[in-house]
């Protein structure tokens, strides 16, 4: 029989040392596995950045970073090529901004409706439909912009050119809308009911509860939804290439056509810029710019989330 002190220090269900060793081994194994997957995703990202930087560096060595950032012309395929990213950046930002002006308000309102007003049955129908819409190939949206939306806009705005950023931006907004709605609705659903109950008990109406309690409560999820929408708009290629034209032009006027960074990248990739040429390398400089723009927005989102964090 064990002494009293013995049973006190170990207890009736004290695990055997073999059990503890196995448990420690399992924990180490899991740890290693997680570390590996984590490392892998970091490596992939690093690989992408490396690919971009490898060809961008000789480009910048030749053109100069200052010229790249300040020159107002982008004409790599001309006899006298100019490499100023501003026209492409303006095209990207203008079309993305229009898209966000559509997708953020409409997406938020729809998400509020679905999350706070709609019956559960309606929500169960609408959500899958939205996800289906998000799966429509972007080239379809591109031709929808060019062949349906642009002619409609031309009736409203006489003299609107066939290629314009307004039409491309609007359709891009519609395209990322399901995305934004779905993510924003998830964020609002994640706000605990206890918070809604507190609001209703205080005499808030449904709308007041949604606007004054649920939205602030879902802030970080909403920021993430908007940022992902933004990232999709900035990186979108087909819609802008088809509907906004391919002519790099430094303008923020949505009624004009202009090329975006992505438009330029496909245009040159599809053409016959010789491997290793400056025109070829300019693709990577443009790609790197896109990467930096997205990164900046993500940092902004990270900062906003930290600033307005909510904890339950």
């Amino acid at each position: 029989m064990k002494s009293k002190q013995d049973s006190d220090s170990h207890g009736r269900f004290a695990p055997s040392s073999a059990f503890l060793r196995r448990r420690a081994l399992r924990a180490r194994l899991m740890h290693t596995l997680l570390l590996l997957t984590g490392t892998l995703s970091v490596l992939v990202t690093a690989g992408i950045v490396y690919t971009l930087v490898r060809d961008a560096v000789p480009f910048f060595a030749e053109v100069g970073l200052l010229t790249f950032l300040t020159d107002t012309q982008w004409t790599p395929l001309f006899a006298q090529p100019r490499y100023g990213i501003l026209p492409l950046l303006a095209g990207t930002l203008t079309t993305s901004l229009i898209a966000l002006l559509v997708a953020i308000p409409a997406g938020t309102v729809l998400a509020i409706y679905l999350s706070e007003f709609a019956q559960r049955r309606l929500r169960e129908v609408v959500k899958p439909v939205l996800e289906l819409l998000a799966g429509v190939p972007t080239v379809v949206y591109g031709y929808f912009a060019l062949l349906v939306v642009t002619p409609l806009l031309q009736r409203l705005i006489p003299g609107l050119p066939g290629f314009n950023m307004l039409s491309a931006g609007l359709v891009m907004g519609i395209m990322i809308l399901p995305y934004v709605v779905s993510l924003a609705e998830d964020a609002m659903r994640a706000v605990p009911d206890a918070l809604r109950e507190g609001a209703y008990a205080l005499g808030f109406s449904r709308l007041q509860t949604a606007v004054r309690v649920v939205i602030p409560g879902a802030f970080s999820g909403l920021t993430a939804a908007y940022l992902l929408g933004m990232a999709r708009a900035v990186g979108e290629t087909m819609v802008v290439a088809i509907a906004a034209g391919q002519n790099p032009r430094l303008t923020f006027n949505p009624l004009e056509g202009a090329a975006t960074i992505t438009t330029y990248i496909v245009q040159v990739s599809l053409g016959d810029a010789p491997y290793g040429s400056l025109a070829y390398r300019s693709i990577f400089a443009a790609g790197l710019t896109l990467f930096v723009v997205t990164l900046l927005f993500n940092i902004l989102g990270f900062w906003l989330r930290r600033r307005f964090r909510e904890v339950y």
Partner: protein, 279 residues
């Protein structure tokens, strides 16, 4: 007819006790619950409950966990309307107008604007401390900064939180500890000065000192408010309430003056519960 006669049956008042207030049971009634039943879907949670809520008194609801105390309390501000398939039967008359709170014809906003509630778990809004307390006033249309400031301070003082937060009113409510958050929720409920205050185990997340503060507060508030408090702490019920209802399995087993319930309960089940023999 509103079952006045049935409700007015006064339990024997022990005038010699220091606890019983003279003629407490003859105080005016703020709300009368009449044959209230409630269902979560097909599951009946409350059975045919009839009891008065006396004006400017504290009514305690006691009973074992799961007996329907919270369910009962949440009928008063129609919280059950927020979820589908919930059903009420009977009446809760809110006096003096005699509005039937749970009638489908009554806009749930009417009782909610007159009846405040504090929940078991603190649920501050994702806003600053100040804005949490001001929220109820703002949605009632109060814009005047001076009135808001004054009412926020007064409510925070009453909830025994002012000294701890007066220097950081604009910090997030989430920076407070659990106990502080609960007192903030009490301040939030007090700020619009509701006629009735519903408290669902408001001190279950608080330490003994904060609990004592809240109990003092409840005692003080009964000067001007009608309070219904759910508690699983019988000493608390005995300390703060004038009337007590004992619930068991969705039924109101016994209702009476607190003094009587705790000294000479009429039902053996009440006796068993308060002496700790079950529950």
């Amino acid at each position: 007819m509103k079952a006045d006669a049935a409700l007015a049956t006064t339990p024997a008042v022990r005038r010699d006790s220091p606890h019983a207030e003279p003629a407490a049971a003859t105080r005016p009634v703020k709300a009368r619950v009449e044959r209230l039943s409630f269902w979560y879907g097909s599951k009946q949670a409350l059975f045919d409950i009839t009891m008065p809520i006396h004006e400017r008194c504290v009514t305690a609801l006691i009973g074992p966990s799961g007996c329907g105390k919270s369910t009962f309390l949440r009928c008063f501000n129609r919280m059950h309307d927020l979820y589908p398939n919930n059903r009420y039967a009977g009446h809760i008359w809110l006096e003096p107008e005699g509005i039937d709170i749970i009638s489908p014809k009554t806009d749930p906003m009417v009782p909610r604007l007159r009846i405040g509630m504090v929940f078991q778990k603190p649920n501050p809004f994702p806003k600053s401390i100040y804005e949490n307390v001001a929220a109820g006033l703002r949605i009632r249309g109060v814009r005047n900064r001076a009135i808001l400031d004054e009412q926020v301070e007064k409510s925070l003082r009453r909830a025994a939180l002012w000294d701890e937060v007066k220097d950081r009113l604009h910090a997030s409510a989430f920076d407070l500890s659990g106990g502080q958050q609960q007192r903030l929720c009490i301040a939030r409920a007090l700020a619009p000065e509701p006629e009735v205050l519903l408290l669902d185990e408001p001190t279950s997340a608080l330490d003994p000192i904060a609990t004592a503060h809240i109990e003092e507060l409840v005692d003080e508030l009964r000067e001007s408010y009608t309070i219904v408090i759910v508690t699983h702490n019988m000493q608390q019920a005995a300390r703060v309430s004038q009337f007590t209802g004992f619930f068991h399995l969705g039924k109101l087993i016994e209702f009476g003056e607190t003094e009587q319930i705790f000294t000479t309960p009429r039902e053996s089940m009440t006796q068993d519960y308060i002496t700790g023999r079950f529950g």
